[in-house]
Symmetry: C2
Subunit: 115 residues, 2 copies
């Protein structure tokens, strides 16, 4: 298997980050990876909320996150380890990721408050 492409930090573009996180599913995946520090497999994130996500869609979501520079993926045996690149991105675009993730957290919370 060819090794996965990861953009260098200086090639990480804001439009790619915004595009990647403008999909709530991907934002939820990224939140989970960032929260856990490291998620041990794509299939560890096989559902978001109640919605089951097909393998092929999951794979392309991870690819979008990776190519946007948001995560780093390494194969470990048969599975993938996905690390957030939060700290790096924070160095380049201060406050960006935390503002985005807390914006989502805020609406998720208000969605729960109105059942």
């Amino acid at each position: 298997m060819r090794s996965l492409f990861h953009p260098a930090l200086e090639d990480v573009r804001p439009e790619a980050i915004l595009h990647a996180l403008s999909d709530p599913t991907r934002a939820a995946i990224f939140a989970r990876i960032s929260g856990a520090g490291c998620v041990e497999a794509c299939t560890a994130v096989s559902a978001v909320g109640d919605r089951v996500i097909p393998k092929s869609s999951l794979s392309s979501h991870f690819k979008v996150l990776r190519e946007a520079g948001l995560i780093r993926c390494e194969r470990h045996g048969v599975e993938m380890r996905n690390h957030s690149r939060c700290a790096e991105v924070e160095a380049r675009y201060p406050g960006l990721l935390s503002a985005i993730m807390s914006a989502y957290a805020r609406t998720d919370a208000s969605a729960m408050a109105t059942p």
Copy 2:
């Protein structure tokens, strides 16, 4: 002409904001509106960088920004006044817009630094 739809602040969603600003053209339009406080016409923003933007595309860019809750548009005679809703959005999603806009400012600056 029917009056234009603007979402209430509590209906403004992060994914819509990120999607609207994930297009560099729209982000540039929004930056100009925010900077000026008020841009007096769509045609006042008829080009971004060297690229001329067709009227129909401009119109739909403004529509996306408006429906995302980022700008407020009012007809004044034959033209439109476009105001940024920055302050409102800042109240709901603190730090979001400033982080996004300074992320773009940072890459625009480095793009100019490497000709």
